[in-house]
Symmetry: C2
Subunit: 309 residues, 2 copies
């Protein structure tokens, strides 16, 4: 049996796994991400850990894939990764390959790698072209086209969180622009919409009893809380409209919703679907909208898949 190494680099830890070419996660482990000194130890730490873990099976390892929190182009060049302390532009794939005695290495953005994992073994498994949308503090995403990551020119393909839905927005997004998709349809966006609804009326709601979080909103929706349902409807409008635009550009067969907020599960789909159907061009309207399945392991699995044909 042949294996590939999957590496998913985050700001605090690096998740790694040995994955069979059939998609079985044979072993998984983590090491801390040492971001000090411009993150110079990160790749050497990863290489040392990989070598240690594959010592008995090195001849059966076909390569390693690495997902990184920053834009990575098709060649493996990363421009910057503030969460890792990296502020230079360099070829991660080449550098890690050098540290691994010339092993085949491919690199990509972490959201793109997670998308590939879901495509290979998760919610996208039974579909063709796919767009993954990660709903967390912000909105990330990844496009899988013909079974491969669509990286785009500067590695920002599928980075849909900052498409501008509302040029008239008054509040600024973290990116400096105004009216970004993630200002409305992320977990942060849901909290904002909830606070707006709470302020706009004195209607009773369980959301008045504790700090408002996205989880609290979806829990309240589950309890038929009317105000929370209004929030879910507004969220569904923004997410459904946003997805309709993406569908009009890349015409996927499926959207996979992942990230922390996707834990709310299938309950959120009808709110999104209603508006998606309303705003999507008929030729793109058959796209499915489903919830991600792999959780945190999507990154490790997808990273490994990059070096498995």
């Amino acid at each position: 049996m042949k294996y590939a190494i999957g590496i998913d680099v985050g700001g605090t830890s690096v998740k790694m796994g040995i994955v069979s070419t059939e998609g079985e996660l044979k072993e998984a482990w983590e090491i801390p991400t040492r971001v000090e000194d411009g993150g110079k130890a990160i790749l050497p730490d990863i290489a040392a850990s990989v070598k240690e873990h594959i010592s008995g099976i090195a001849d059966d390892v076909t390569g390693a894939g690495i997902g990184l929190p920053g834009p990575v182009d098709d060649e493996g060049v990363i421009r910057k990764a503030v969460n890792l302390g990296w502020d230079r532009t360099f070829n991660v794939a080449e550098e890690l390959s050098g540290l691994l005695s010339g092993m085949t290495v491919k690199a990509a953005n972490d959201a793109n790698v997670a998308a590939l994992g879901e495509y290979w073994l998760g919610a996208g498994k039974d579909y063709g072209d796919m767009v993954m949308v990660t709903l967390g503090t912000g909105i990330g995403g990844g496009i899988v086209h013909h079974g491969k990551i669509y990286a785009g020119t500067t590695g920002a393909g599928g980075e849909i969180g900052h498409i501008c839905l509302n040029p008239n927005e008054k509040l600024s997004c973290g990116c400096g622009k105004k009216g970004c998709f993630e200002q409305y349809a992320s977990a942060t966006g849901v909290v904002r919409l909830a606070n707006e609804e709470l302020k706009a009326s004195s209607d009773p709601s369980e959301l008045r009893d504790a700090p408002v979080t996205a989880k609290a909103v979806w829990d309240a929706v589950r309890n038929h809380d009317k105000l929370a349902i209004r929030v879910a409807e507004r969220f569904g409008y923004y997410l459904g409209w946003g997805l309709s635009i993406i569908a009009g550009v890349v015409n996927p067969e499926v959207f996979v919703l992942g990230g922390g907020m996707s834990k709310a599960g299938d309950m959120m789909i009808p709110y999104v679907r209603e508006h998606f159907d309303k705003y999507t061009f008929h030729a793109c309207r058959d796209a499915q909208i489903v919830i991600a399945k792999l959780g945190n392991s999507a990154g490790t699995l997808g990273a490994a898949k990059m070096v498995i044909d």
Copy 2:
């Protein structure tokens, strides 16, 4: 020297060409499109004409590509083409191949084929991933990724004219939805914006002297007509914003503006660029915006390119 046949099917005529693998158009000709009787003569007419024109060089012809006015998927299946009288779903590539004694045939949407032509020999030649935007009565488009057409699941990839920019629009688009991109940034959209400006003030303008067309608007802009310049600014807002969204999804290196209205030329670029820069996520903002170069021959050349490696 080897050749490929390029076929660009329109509602009134079929443009055809013999194209060398180096991109030289050796011969070009047209035949009428016979749309009567459900368009059943169209493919046989094309096959007969191709056979006649390649009689001396048949052994050097590597295949034929055909562009069609309707959504065509990666396999060559067209779902419908009202302009051709076709209302069935069938594999055009297979059917034409059968009529051409088994010749290799690939089929794609006409806007996608024109995009490939511009990528190969026109305004996209010096770039990587490209999005073509055709500004005519409506807005069409095509995505070229890694040198290939991005068809999408149902062949509607890059069909960006019906992404919804304004859910609050009152007027309906031809597609039945409201607020579509092409309601604002097509030639039709420019005429609409001009009529709104003419109605909103009594400012003098050469646009008051004759029927308003997109060409008249750009001619007036060239003459420093203040009202026409306001129209150009509003057009630039919508096109720049729309392109910014597309950039955030597929992160191209270049946008190529084609279609009838692109004849206004480089004059329109600054109006678009201003708003594109304002609304585009920084990682995607370096995309160039240029005017198409090949005119009507983009379709024939791009169709041929589908069967040239």
